[in-house]
């Protein structure tokens, strides 16, 4: 049935090992969060510092992309196994999104 599951009872050692692994991965998540906050701070301060537009635009777009990758691969667990099909779905969506943006930015105001 669709709600059936195989039940496996871990031994005490296996259980403690799994807990330890999860704690370590959670520590990694907090580090990821720290990096994301840091990237956000750099983005905002680059804009407030008032550098040239041609410097700011690529930098903040790059930082946003890095932050989104961190969010997807760590917070949303895409780096774990069993995530090939989710990644495929998301990249197909992102591909179409990219094409939309290129299209709208180029042909809307032509002619």
């Amino acid at each position: 049935m669709s709600h059936d599951a195989h039940v496996y009872v871990k031994s005490q050692t296996e259980y403690e090992y799994a807990r330890k692994k999860r704690r370590e991965s959670m520590r990694g998540q907090v580090t990821t969060f720290g990096i994301m906050i840091f990237l956000t701070l750099i983005s905002f301060s680059t804009v407030i510092a008032g550098f040239s537009m041609y410097f700011i635009l690529p930098v903040i777009l790059l930082l946003a992309s890095v932050q989104v990758v961190l969010q997807l691969y760590y917070f949303m667990h895409m780096s774990e196994k069993n995530h090939n099909v989710p990644a495929f779905f998301l990249y197909v969506g992102a591909f179409f999104g990219f094409v939309f943006i290129i299209t709208f930015l180029t042909i809307v105001w032509w002619g």
């Binding site: 059936d4 956000t40 903040i60 949303m76 099909v85």
Partner: protein, 208 residues
């Protein structure tokens, strides 16, 4: 049926959200939905970028004069932190700590409400100074993009609150674990979209 099986931390599966066929289907189906959401938001971003600062001649509103970075910064921090708290909730779910998960999700909801309150304030302020939805092509594109994101925040909040209330006395099962997991994925996705909104709309708007 597994719905009534009581699990202990030792028998709780490593990936409770994908331990049943139902859970696997929800997981996959939800990622397909997120792929579609990516396309939805990309089309709204494309529209916004094409219509940015475009409107009737002599329009007094532009991204440079309109946006207030301190407010956007606070909103960003609230949403980013709420993303971390929902990671904590999923961590407790894997540890079979029901109370821990409910608590962290409740904190996520509070942070989300804070974000929503600031967004409502921001929109109210814009409308108050005359930047209404039908004021210009720019205002329509702006409110549609940021408003659609705000609508997602509302849906995410209602979804998580309903899960918290409905399962408060039930505890964990492999029936509700995928529901919690997909709700947390949805919440992270809201933050993914916001990263592009604060960069493309607000930061790039202030630059010009």
């Amino acid at each position: 049926m597994d719905f009534n099986t009581k699990y202990t931390p030792q028998s709780w599966p490593e990936h409770p959200e994908q331990a049943t066929m139902e859970g696997k289907n929800k997981f996959l189906g939800f990622w397909l939905f997120l792929g579609g959401e990516t396309v939805l938001f990309a089309s709204l971003f494309a529209t916004y970028l094409a219509l940015k600062n475009k409107g009737p001649s002599g329009m007094e509103f532009s991204t440079e004069t309109l946006f207030e970075l301190p407010l956007v910064f606070v909103m960003t921090m609230l949403l980013l932190t709420s993303s971390l708290t929902s990671v904590y909730a999923m961590y407790h779910m894997k540890n079979h700590n029901f109370k821990g998960m409910q608590t962290w999700l409740a904190i996520t909801v509070l942070l989300g409400l804070g974000f929503l309150g600031l967004e409502i304030y921001e929109f109210y302020h814009y409308v108050h100074i005359g930047f209404t939805y039908n004021q210009s092509a720019f205002s329509s594109a702006f409110f549609t993009l940021v408003g659609t994101h705000g609508l997602h925040v509302v849906i995410g909040l209602v979804w998580i609150i309903l899960l918290l209330i409905r399962n408060a006395k039930r505890g964990f099962s492999l029936y509700n674990a995928p529901k919690y997991y997909t709700a947390s994925l949805y919440w992270h996705f809201i933050d993914v979209v916001w990263v592009f909104i604060f960069t493309v709309v607000y930061l790039m708007g202030v630059v010009g």
